[in-house]
């Protein structure tokens, strides 16, 4: 790929050299000048928006691109998620898609010349009932067909992988088995965001932070202000001024409906907060990611020693990220069911992010009834892991003006056609 301005190459050698010379590293990305027109505007500076920008430049040579974010890069779900990556989905469509993402993650540190700390520590989804076990088997069978390393294991093996789990049978929710997925793991979410941002910037993409989009400019549509079905997008209005562009891509996750609404497009999405929390650090004792769907909790231990917890989305739709006490109570209660020995660990911090939930736990990607207005949304509680592949595919979609096969099942039109994707069973607390 042709880099317009080379970023400083990161390496251990560089660290030493700069340490000796006492020089700082150059900026990771520029503070770009304001421009009034671009070929492509991407709204949302999370992993999806940034990856789309990066691949537009890297794979298609389209560099006259702006990424707009109302706050700072990664301020949405991309900077708030628990960074679990896996590909053991339930449907063949899902598996193929997420597996491509894992491939991209595997080489990302080298591709982006930035260590994203992909930690392939294994991912274990516990089953507490025979019906859950049946779903695990189903997933394992679909996964194996697609050559995904995924199998159902029993309590003894579970205990070996995570000795802190109580696998005895006299608990309220006995652990009957688990879907084990060795290639799953965690990643440093901020690093992924910064990596794509730095890579996109180096190829000439402008990253405008603190640039809130207030309206989408359209003409020729059926609705008010020429919006809605049949309209053509002409640009965006931001807090800093108007920008014209023939293509606008909505990558705003939790805020997706608000942006789509500005173009007169309704989405099959409701916004719910998803909460997470970390404990104070302790010495490593939990080597894998553990998920329990029935108990609505998942947990992993970071390299820093903190336990990171997550749950399922809050039931009430809201754009407020205040968080609740109940979340921490339920989380702690359930995690102690699984690991009774950690009752003296302390919760250090809780937070929330907004999730764009769809009825079939699958994303909405590709064109909309408004010409030039694309969406890459509906990422719910599981979209971080999909960042790389979504960026790659959305870039292709926009560059070629045609939806690539890999994301065809996820088009918005599936809802009016009644062709929902069958991930619902597997993703309720999937991440």
């Amino acid at each position: 790929m042709a880099l317009r301005n080379h970023p400083a190459k990161y390496s251990a050698f560089g660290l030493v050299r700069r340490g000796l010379r006492k020089t700082n590293w150059p900026r990771v990305w520029r503070e770009p000048d304001w421009k009034s027109s671009y070929d492509v505007i991407i709204i949302g500076g999370g992993v999806h928006g940034l990856a789309t920008a990066y691949y537009l430049a890297a794979n298609h040579g389209i560099t006259n691109v702006a990424v707009l974010d109302k706050a700072y890069l990664g301020s949405g779900g991309s900077g708030r998620n628990t960074a679990i990556v896996r590909s053991n989905y339930l449907t063949p469509e899902g598996v193929a898609f997420y597996d491509r993402s894992l491939d991209l993650y595997n080489t990302m540190s080298v591709d982006l010349n930035l260590n994203v700390m992909f930690s392939e520590r294994g991912h274990m989804t516990l089953a507490h009932t025979d019906s859950a076990l049946r779903t695990m088997n189903w997933r394992a069978e679909v996964n194996k067909l697609q050559k995904i390393d995924s199998s159902v294991i029993g309590p003894d093996e579970i205990k070996k992988l995570a000795p802190s789990l109580d696998v005895s049978t006299n608990t309220r929710y006995p652990i009957l088995g688990a879907l084990y997925h060795p290639p799953g793991g965690t990643i440093r979410h901020d690093a992924v965001v910064w990596g794509y941002a730095r890579g996109a910037d180096a190829q000439g993409v402008d990253l405008h932070q603190k640039t809130e989009v207030l309206d989408i400019l359209c003409e020729g549509g059926d609705g008010a202000d020429g919006k809605g079905a049949g309209a053509t997008v002409t640009g965006v209005r931001t807090r800093r001024g108007d920008i014209s562009a023939p293509i606008v891509v909505n990558c705003t996750a939790g805020w997706a409906s608000t942006i789509a609404g500005m173009a007169g497009v309704r989405l099959p999405i409701t916004t719910h907060p998803l909460q997470a929390a970390v404990t104070e650090p302790v010495k490593a004792f939990l080597p894998t990611v553990v998920v329990s769907g029935s108990l609505h909790v998942y947990v992993s231990q970071t390299d820093r020693g903190e336990l990171v917890f997550g749950a399922s989305v809050d039931p009430v739709a809201t754009y407020n990220m205040g968080g609740t006490l109940e979340f921490t109570e339920e989380l702690a209660g359930h995690v102690l069911e699984l690991m009774p020995g950690i009752s003296k660990m302390r919760l250090l911090r809780q937070w929330a992010g907004l999730c764009d939930m769809t009825p079939d736990y699958s994303p909405v990607m590709g064109p909309t009834p408004v010409e030039g207005f694309y969406v890459d949304v509906g990422w719910g509680t599981y979209g971080f892991k999909a960042g790389p592949v979504s960026g790659e595919q959305m870039a292709a979609c926009v560059a070629n003006r045609a939806t690539p096969d890999l994301i065809k099942p996820f088009e918005l039109s599936r809802f009016t056609e009644g062709e929902l994707v069958g991930e619902k069973g597997a993703a309720a607390v999937g991440h």
């Binding site: 805020w255 409906s257 608000t258 609404g261 309704r266 989405l267 099959p268 999405i269 409701t270 916004t271 039931p315 009430v316 739709a317 809201t318 754009y319 407020n320 609740t324 006490l325 109940e326 009825p359 809802f415 009016t416 009644g418």
Partner: protein, 90 residues
């Protein structure tokens, strides 16, 4: 936790109720086109702002009612009693 004003029980912890989401009218099942029906099933305004929504007092009096809630600030407007479609289901 949010306090939700059930018209019968008064303000209750949101966890005592069931959230049913954005209120929307059911099209006539005999005349609705696929598009209309699926719009009813799946598409939502999901605004960041005032939203008319349905709640169910599932651990209390079991009344279904609607309120208007601001989805960012959490402010509430007067609850409406069940079935009061006159309140203007959108």
């Amino acid at each position: 936790m949010l306090l939700v004003p059930c018209p019968n029980c008064g303000p209750r912890n949101a966890a005592d109720l069931t959230y049913r989401g954005e209120s929307h009218a059911r099209p006539d099942p005999n005349t609705a086109t696929r598009e209309e029906w699926r719009t009813y099933l799946y598409l939502r305004d999901n605004p960041s702002g005032w939203l008319r929504e349905s709640w169910y007092c599932s651990s209390g009096c079991r009344t279904h009612f609607q309120i208007e809630r601001h989805t960012f600030t959490g402010e509430l407007r007067e609850p409406l009693l069940p079935g009061s479609k006159t309140g203007g289901e959108s």
